[in-house]
């Protein structure tokens, strides 16, 4: 089954990609399709996560938005302007960290930021403020070459912020950050959204972080959007499971009881001599009390009973598998 991309998006989209195609010629002379009918919307004032495996087209899509790459066909609009034709009208309204931080290694972090800030009319005050925001003010006078990967990453984000953008585009901003820095980054992005109404696009592989920070998520596979929806909506759409952990000596008995009452089960070995019986749990009441009552009535006492919620990772894996299955069936072939 082909899962149609849900790229209808919100009505107040700040950025809109419509059926964008882009191919590159590889070193061996073959054409490689990086974007293949890519369509998505970025809602104003939200944090959007762009997910997808390596080579799925995420960075190419971001580069198209920034005017670094020109699409072969399709249209991209940002702030109501058609890109790349009107790129210069929107360039100052976007800040970006693309393909990792890029700075002159022999200069200090502050000097590097000053050079970028100068392009946008940002003075020492703004430079100091940006450094403070990302938490590397104390290392401002150190040479960039001596920065750790995490510090470089933070400086890259400061560089993206220095223009005071309305749209912040961050390509893998969590790369190389320690857990504390990841949390700081998450808080920073939320602050930027809440206090300044900034729209943020984050491409990332760290699904848990995207789930924690993003309002909207777009999953990309083979240059196409395979899923595009609000994070809470996606998660609420997903199926939760009730997991009953019982001692393996009573597993057969528990299975018999539950199946007799119409529950569909999957079995798996659990830790320390237990088995896990997993069954779909309808929202909002995943019938845990009923299951408990049925089992205890037959003298089967579960070691643990828990509701397993749906994670973004589950949704991502399901979407990618569905897309792969659809690709194997060949529904996209006609479009190539």
């Amino acid at each position: 089954m082909t899962q149609e991309p849900e790229h209808t998006g919100p009505s107040d989209a700040l950025v809109r990609f419509d059926d964008v195609r882009k191919s590159f010629r590889t070193a061996r002379g073959r054409r490689q399709q990086a974007l293949d009918g890519f369509s998505m919307s970025i809602p104003r004032g939200s944090i959007v996560g762009l997910l997808g495996p390596n080579g799925s087209g995420k960075t190419t899509a971001l580069k198209t938005l920034l005017g670094l790459v020109r699409p072969d066909s399709g249209s991209v609009h940002a702030f109501g302007h058609a890109l790349p034709k009107d790129q210069r009208h929107v360039a100052g309204r976007m800040g970006a960290l693309i393909e990792g931080p890029a700075f002159n290694a022999s200069l200090t972090g502050e000097h590097n930021l000053r050079l970028i800030g100068e392009l946008h009319g940002a003075g020492p005050t703004e430079v100091a403020e940006a450094l403070e925001l990302v938490g590397i003010a104390q290392a401002a006078r150190r040479a960039y070459s001596g920065y750790s990967l995490g510090m470089k990453q933070r400086l890259g984000v400061a560089g993206a912020l220095i223009s005071g953008p309305e749209l912040l585009v961050l390509d893998e901003p969590m790369n190389g950050l320690d857990p504390e820095a990841v949390r700081d980054m998450r808080e920073l992005l939320k602050r930027l959204r809440d206090e300044r109404g900034m729209t943020v696009v984050v491409s990332s592989h760290i699904l848990a972080e995207v789930e924690l920070v993003c309002d909207w998520v777009t999953i990309v596979r083979n240059g196409r959007v395979i899923c595009d929806a609000g994070v809470s909506e996606l998660i609420s759409r997903g199926t939760e499971h009730l997991v009953v952990r019982v001692h393996d000596t009573v597993t057969e008995q528990a299975v018999a009881v539950l199946e007799r009452h119409g529950h569909t089960l999957t079995r798996a070995a659990g830790p320390r001599g237990t088995d896990e019986l997993r069954m779909p749990a309808p929202r909002p009441h995943p019938h845990a009390p009923e299951v408990l009552r049925l089992l205890t009535a037959q003298n089967v006492y579960p070691r643990e009973l828990l509701v397993e919620s749906v994670s973004l990772e589950d949704i991502y894996v399901a979407a990618v598998r569905a897309a792969d299955a659809a690709a194997e069936d060949g529904p996209f072939d006609e479009r190539r």
Partner: protein
């Protein structure tokens, strides 16, 4: 919070200022510019100290040089060698002035041309290597403007450096000439010719920097651009000499010599004719105009290709 959204890409004046700072920021560039006065001073001191015509060893070297010069001059249609004896040639106080103000100046400007090539390559290539170019092109989507502003700034900085170098160096060299020789015969024409050489040299240095910049923008890699430049300087002279000798004088060494060549007070060509292209340019009497035309043949295709690739192709 004072970070405010800016409505569009930067205005030209701000952009030029930012690009100039970016161009002068790398340590090799800053240190090179700071070291230049010291290098020039050292050259002047060395010229002053090394002029010992009364020392036997120096005299023997001068005689040997004169013999080579005479043989070389005899191959040319119009030589004034018969009128000069070795003693007259090297004892002539005008020799030192000519050498100091002309030969040494030419050597320095030739060296600056080489440095300008490296400066151009670095200014064009470093930002590709560090991927700063992605940030720049995202901030200034008008790529032709970015290409032109940076190219013109590289050219202007190199030209200005050459002018300032000459302005700093010439008084030192003329000082040496005054103390060890004479300023006799330094008439209006002499000073005019000197000024013209400085001007031509400065333009040459600027254009060579532009060539290096364009090469780096075309290849998008510092090392590749430097490699091509080095390979050209090392190999092309020999290849052209071997297969199309008629074009040998239009090699960069020949061009540099022809642009900076001027017979001032005496025939001193042999002392400064270094390399086949340069000697050929001297023998053939290649003019500065022809040399600049030959340089434009080198420069224009590279600039055009670099502009096309940068402005019309993807940068990511």
């Amino acid at each position: 919070m004072t970070l405010l959204a800016k409505p569009s890409s930067p205005p030209l004046s701000r952009f030029v200022r930012a690009e100039l700072h970016r161009l002068l920021s790398p340590k090799p560039v800053r240190y090179g510019l700071l070291a230049l006065p010291a290098i020039l001073l050292a050259l002047a001191v060395s010229t002053f100290l090394s002029h010992h015509t009364d020392v036997a060893a120096a005299w023997r070297a001068a005689e040997a040089a004169y013999r080579t010069y005479a043989e070389e001059a005899a191959t040319r249609p119009a030589g004034s060698v018969e009128t000069l004896s070795p003693r007259e040639f090297f004892d002539d106080p005008r020799y030192l002035m000519t050498k100091a103000s002309f030969v040494d100046l030419r050597a320095v400007l030739s060296g600056l041309s080489l440095a300008a090539l490296v400066l151009g390559v670095l200014s064009g290539g470093a930002d590709w290597s560090s991927r700063v170019m992605l940030t720049l092109t995202a901030a200034e989507p008008r790529r032709t403007r970015l290409f032109l502003v940076r190219g013109l700034l590289v050219t202007a900085v190199a030209t200005a450096t050459a002018v300032l170098t000459s302005v700093f160096l010439l008084p030192l060299l003329l000082g040496v000439a005054v103390f060890k020789g004479s300023l006799a015969d330094a008439d209006g024409r002499y000073w005019m010719v000197l000024a013209v050489i400085v001007a031509r040299g400065a333009v040459l240095v600027g254009l060579v920097a532009l060539l290096g910049y364009s090469l780096a923008m075309l290849t998008r890699r510092t090392t590749t651009a430097l490699g091509i430049a080095l390979a050209y300087l090392v190999a092309s002279g020999r290849i052209v000499q071997e297969y199309v000798p008629a074009l040998a004088e239009y090699q960069l060494s020949g061009i540099t010599f022809a642009v900076l060549n001027e017979r001032l007070l005496m025939e001193t060509d042999r002392t400064t004719c270094v390399g086949e292209g340069a000697c050929l340019a001297m023998r053939e009497g290649t003019t500065a105009t022809t040399a600049f035309l030959a340089l434009s043949v080198h420069l224009l295709p590279v600039v055009a290709a670099a502009w096309w690739r940068f402005a019309r192709r993807d940068v990511g």
